[in-house]
């Protein structure tokens, strides 16, 4: 993800939008590093003195409290560690054309592996009726067997994997046609 260089000018606050755990947040920053004003989600601004250090280290002194963050770019946004916690900040996901797969419409019945791995066992076949949460496929990754469960109740339309197959996180392993009442939702 590219971010165009921006220059901080007094009177022109910079605005950043992030999504964390499905919730949208807005941060505005204005002023110079030694004397900035920062506001999160429209709350009262705080006085902030900040410095960046190569390697993604950001030192922030907020109302006298010293906080050190580490930030790294990751797919779709930033990974941030601060105050002993890790956060994934998504940036600009909404208008990102790369996320096209996500807008696949009928994606609800398309079951993908949650992580890359190897298929150990396929527990359903085409035509099977499955309940919500029923185990469909067991995928082994990092020596752990992981149950991949049905995200919707319905009928199995397609099974594209067999034991031993390597799977990624983008291609569907099982396609479920949602049952009528779920499908209508």
């Amino acid at each position: 993800m590219e971010h165009r260089p921006q220059v901080i000018l007094k009177g022109e606050p910079l605005r950043f939008e992030f999504t964390v755990g499905g919730r949208a947040h807005v941060v505005t920053v204005e002023g110079k590093p030694s004397d900035a004003n920062v506001s999160v989600d429209g709350r009262d601004g705080r006085r902030l003195d900040w410095a960046t250090i190569p390697g993604g280290v950001i030192s922030m002194v907020v109302d006298g409290r010293s906080l050190t963050a580490r930030v790294a770019r990751r797919d779709g946004g930033l990974a941030v560690w601060v105050a002993g916690r890790r956060f994934d900040l998504e940036t600009g996901a909404a208008d990102d054309a790369v996320g096209g797969a996500r807008h696949g419409g009928r994606a609800s019945g398309s079951v993908k592996a949650p992580m890359p791995g190897t298929v150990v066992k396929v527990l359903v076949k085409e035509g099977d009726e499955v309940a919500l949460g029923q185990s469909l496929v067991i995928v082994e990754a990092m020596k752990m067997e992981n149950d991949v469960r049905a995200p919707v109740a319905g009928t199995v339309r397609k099974v594209t994997v067999a034991p031993g197959a390597s799977v990624g996180t983008t291609e569907a392993m099982v396609e479920i046609e949602p049952a009528a009442e779920t499908g209508a939702a």
Binding site: H3, S34, V71, R86, T91
Partner: protein, 500 residues
């Protein structure tokens, strides 16, 4: 010993390589295609490719590992833990090839690796054992009959197993067939042997194990206990020594039993005798772990003994210089295992690139690490990344030190269990030493892992905003471009400050 081949990967291979080099012995690494750039390869004096990524074709491939030892001219092999560490045929092969296997003799390994036979041996010398199946290789019907006889709940275990792999709690007869099938499949994939057995489940026990060291001359000492009751999916995640549950009298009795157990199987080198400690303080032999354990640093910190160095010395035929009467526990040590798993997402494995890594440090903090910044955690192996171990004068000081160290520990790019471990160590039951093997289900269920406070989230959002806006820093007033040095960015900000 002239050169040691380390038949393993990850943090333990790094740990062993360091012990070799501390002893002035060159260390040779082996690697699969997935591990060419792994830390254990970078840390070794020599390195040999042994095959493609799947462990069966590389780290579990006996011919390839023996071939690698020949290639580098090693005269000894350290197997680490997991992979071939407890494979008696591998140990035998080393013996036949004139290579020193840094572990027990193959006969002892064969005996203790067979949980059923080792139990018979223990019963023979009066070591208490848990009621369970004593005949090997039982089919599903035999397991079902035994379970019926003992009464549910029962535990299904892999005969060749270790580390809880393939182990299943079964609470009713209806669930037994599935549990047996899963256990056999996991055992087959992890150990190449699908033999399983059932035993009576002892509810709410503590897992207390004793470290032993034995030489070729009949000397056996124990180095006290480690309590490893905090487990997820039967995998230990927090270990400590001393145990809060032992009295000096019980400790002495269990230690003597551990030494007796090691002697009964003709054990040599470093090993661990595992016990279940029931609520009434009765204890039962579980198994002998015939290898260096993941959690060995806990013992190293409280006893001051370098166990891997002792392994090397004992394997080279030197008599133990440690005497039981000289050994003592000093202070308290706690270990947390850092896994590439996502606690917020049902502990799904989390392979991928490590974008940022900052290791905790300071007095009493040790980090046995198998990763580095920029490295891609592969999908093919166990998700353990590293181990964080702290030592302090007493348990509470060690606990607070662990909290501090976990808070200082930064891993970005992949999900890890760091936050989750901190919740455990910060919890009241842990602080009180109220640790049974059901700790996680009892005290951690329903706790949203890594539930973040609003202030930390706000700081993260601000940091993210600064990071993105600071991307603009080089855009300062076009014009001359100087050679960039790390000081430039710092300089830019201090100039900004002065001009204010």
């Amino acid at each position: 010993m002239k050169k040691i081949l380390i038949a393993n990967r990850g943090e333990i291979a790094v740990r062993v390589a360091r012990a070799c080099r501390d002893a002035g012995i060159p260390a040779a690494a082996v690697y699969s295609d997935a591990d060419r750039a792994s830390l254990h390869v970078l840390e070794a004096d020599e390195a040999v490719r042994i095959g493609p990524a799947p462990a069966l074709e590389s780290y579990l491939n006996v011919d390839a590992v023996i071939g690698a030892a020949r290639t580098v001219g090693a005269d000894a092999v350290h197997p680490g833990y997991g992979f071939l560490a407890e494979n008696w045929q591998f140990a035998r092969r080393c013996e036949d090839e004139g290579l020193t296997f840094i572990g027990p003799p193959s006969a002892a390994l064969h005996l203790v690796g067979d949980k059923i036979r080792s139990r018979e041996t223990m019963r023979g010398v009066g070591v208490p054992i848990i009621p369970g199946m004593l005949d090997a290789g039982g089919g599903d019907e035999a397991c079902a009959a035994k379970a019926r006889e003992m009464g549910y709940p029962v535990l299904v275990k892999a005969s060749a197993g270790g580390g809880g792999k393939g182990m299943q709690v079964v609470r009713s007869a209806a669930d037994l067939p599935n549990a047996l099938a899963t256990a056999r499949r996991v055992a087959k994939s992890a150990f190449g042997d699908d033999t399983v057995y059932v035993e009576k489940l002892i509810e709410r026990p503590r897992h207390v194990e004793f470290q032993v060291l034995a030489d070729r001359h009949g000397n056996v000492v124990h180095l006290f206990e480690r309590e490893c009751s905090i487990q997820r999916r039967h995998q230990k995640i927090v270990e400590e020594s001393p145990s809060t549950a032992l009295t000096p009298e019980l400790r002495a009795r269990m230690g003597e039993t551990a030494v007796k157990a090691a002697k009964a199987c003709g054990y040599q080198n470093a090993g661990t005798v595992e016990f279940l400690l029931a609520e009434d303080r009765s204890f039962y032999f579980l198994e002998v772990n015939a290898r260096i354990q993941v959690e060995h640093p806990v013992t190293e910190l409280v006893t001051g003994v370098d166990l891997v160095r002792e392994q090397i010395l004992v394997a080279s035929g030197r008599p133990l210089t440690l005497k039981q009467s000289d050994l003592a526990q000093r202070g308290h040590a706690i270990e947390c295992r850092i896994y590439a798993e996502d606690p917020a997402n049902d502990f799904l494995p989390s392979p991928g690139r490590i974008l940022s890594l900052c290791e905790p440090a300071g007095p009493g903090v040790r980090h046995d690490c198998g990763i580095y910044e920029g490295w891609d955690v592969p999908v093919h192996y166990d998700p353990i990344l590293s181990k964080l171990i702290v030592h302090a004068a007493d348990r509470e000081t060690a606990r607070l030190r662990m909290l501090r160290a976990l808070s200082d520990f930064v891993v970005l790019g992949i999900a890890t269990t760091i936050d989750y471990l901190r919740e455990i160590v910060a919890s009241e039951p842990f602080a009180k030493g109220d640790t049974q093997t059901d700790f996680i289900e009892k005290h951690m269920a329903g706790r949203p892992a890594g539930a973040a406070d609003a202030a930390a989230l706000e700081a993260a959002l601000v940091a993210g905003a600064i990071f993105l806006s600071a991307g603009s820093a080089p855009a300062r007033a076009g014009g001359r471009r100087r050679e960039q040095s790390p000081w430039d960015t710092l300089g830019a900000w201090s100039i900004g400050r002065r001009s204010s």
